[in-house]
Point group: C4
Chain length 221, copies 4
């Protein structure tokens, strides 16, 4: 009787996709709130570029912007990371015949972790030489990976996938998540030596995953 409610909620994969797209879109755009326009005490007079002294303020502004570059790098990293997980979630949702209450809650938990990503990204941007910040970022990536894996496993067991789902899809998606997480773990372990090394490696992994070059063995991840 009471479980009737459990049977009527969460059936719509369309709505789950819609709220996922919304949360990813907001989280991806909120990342940029961490990028502040530099506050300089500059004169706001208009001079032709060749006027004497015109380039002094320009140079100051330029240096202030160059100083923002690492933060911009972290922002792009955060965006790529969310993009990758969005694609990973989409690969699952697009092949579901229907959802159910449990699956919806697994995905809502995943989305909760997604909405926290701007925090972990800002933490890494602020404390990029600290292992604690790197560790938090990695635990976050791990959580996202495990939740996607859990959603995959549950959907398979509860037979929620469409009958025309390409054979091997579930296995391929699972292998993909496991390999990516293993590489993240290795990258973060190298952070014991130098955190910039870790961040650079994670960026390269994301780029490789985005560009997906047709070179073996790079295209296997």
């Amino acid at each position: 009787m009471a479980t009737a409610y459990h049977r009527i909620v969460g059936g719509s994969v369309h709505r789950l996709s819609a709220i996922s797209d919304g949360i990813f879109a907001v989280a991806m755009t909120l990342l940029v709130l961490d990028l502040h326009v530099p506050a300089l005490q500059l004169l706001h007079a208009q001079h032709a570029l060749w006027a004497p002294g015109a380039t002094g303020g320009e140079r100051q502004l330029w240096h202030a912007l160059v100083a923002l570059a690492p933060r911009l790098g972290i922002f792009v990293l955060g965006f790529l990371t969310l993009g990758m997980f969005w694609l990973g979630q989409q690969a699952q949702l697009d092949h579901l015949a229907r959802g159910d209450r449990h699956l919806t809650w697994i995905h809502l938990t995943f989305l909760c972790a997604v909405s926290l990503m701007p925090f972990s990204t800002a933490l890494l941007a602020e404390y990029e030489t600290y292992r604690v910040a790197l560790l938090v970022y990695w635990l976050h990536l791990l959580t996202l990976g495990l939740l996607l894996l859990g959603a995959l496993r549950y959907a398979e067991r509860a037979k929620l996938f469409r009958s025309d789902t390409p054979e091997g899809l579930v296995a391929a998606a699972r292998r993909r998540i496991v390999v990516a997480q293993a590489l993240y773990a290795v990258s973060v372990a190298l952070g014991m030596v130098n955190t910039y090394l870790s961040v650079a490696l994670i960026v390269l992994l994301q780029l490789n995953s985005a560009v997906a070059p047709d070179i073996r063995p790079l295209n296997r991840f």
Copy 2:
């Protein structure tokens, strides 16, 4: 004549679902704006983890993050709460054959209360030992529940549900809201003694509702 306008607006359940997903997505992600990266005066030099003194700053950052834990807990509570109401609203919208002007306004009022949730959640996070904060949070939950109940009642009377709506859906959805609200009321009443007890109970109720274990009588809520 003039009522012609009333007849032409609000008919699209699809658009109502879309703006609901949008508002829930933004409200759920805005919750995290309340989580600030700790501002510490730390050196930003790169040392290997085994270099002497390298762990001092790490420990400071770690403590600052641990201090954020209760706030993170409240954030997760806010997210779960909104997720639950999103599911509750979806359960109704997914079975509507069409909307009308009145139903749309009931749902817009519901969405107005949804968009205020980040405020109540931040209030509870800031003043977690104060009954006034707990009371505001509870009044907010109650308002959301009553509006969902009102929408259900109205949709039933105006015969807006699809003819293939499973029998007992309306009754199950109504019972679900009433039971949840009764349990919230009891939890909040216990806050007279200790507010942490209330918050802990509400979290457990949300978790039970999310996990929906197959154990009687827990699966009845």
Copy 3:
């Protein structure tokens, strides 16, 4: 030749609806960013409610929240206003067979005005006794109304409405906008005497439009 581009863009009413829902959802939720949790210097110790002195801090917090009430009222006004314009735009978009480049730009201009609404609303909340703030708010409402009217007129002339559009829809929608704008103008004119009177009248107009009671002549607006 070059106009080929003009012929290929803006044809999708679905995409226009989607970005409209997104912008309305964000604008409606951003309104709440103006509501700040009061910053009080209160102890955060846990006492049972009947412990001596336990109610002092509670009372302080309560007064701080009560002081927020007018701001909350303005927030609800902003939300209702956006809800009304969202419904008004939906009434048009839902009956379009297709869009075109010009119509899309009229609606994008409308959405630009929508995204500015949190600014005008915050201005009115901050300077609620100033005619200038009221005037800005009213000019904003007028702009939104005129743009909707322009979109309606253009869609009619360019024959973009579906052939099954109910007869009289365009006339009803036009009358609706004109009547609402006339009432806003009267309300704002009364602000010359007292601005609270204006705001109260606008709130009543919005509520009447939301509730749409079956009482003549109230149901004509």
Copy 4:
């Protein structure tokens, strides 16, 4: 084997459209966060407009708002720019039969640049007399244009367009992007003399592109 994953992700043009609409909607609305309600020390007493001294505060508020006008202008420029790119992207997505992994990543990179637009716009608003700010804004426009061009080229080569795509669409879209970018480059080059001239020219180009008057040769861009 591993490439199986590459074959299963990114196929849904619908999901790509949905996240694009979301990111554009958030970015367009975030622009306004840069518009702050002026903070004045004014009395909040209610006087009839003809009461002596009632107009003093009004005048102060009016001047503060007038001072915001350039910033509002930049905001509208930012909104128009994003609107134009949204239309440009839509023109492509609406004619795709399907997506693939590479195309999705090109569009995600495009969306990453879109989400950074509030930053460049705020930079230009803050330092409107500085060439560096103008240069950053222009590089941003150029990046957006190049990414759209890349997406177009890739979709054509990978034969992702629907078979009923109007002939000449790809050529028209490409010409459109190239012409617009050439005009932006000329406008920015004039900024060497005076940055206001550049901004005014860019605004005129955007307006022309939005209004698309039926006058030769203006309707060719």
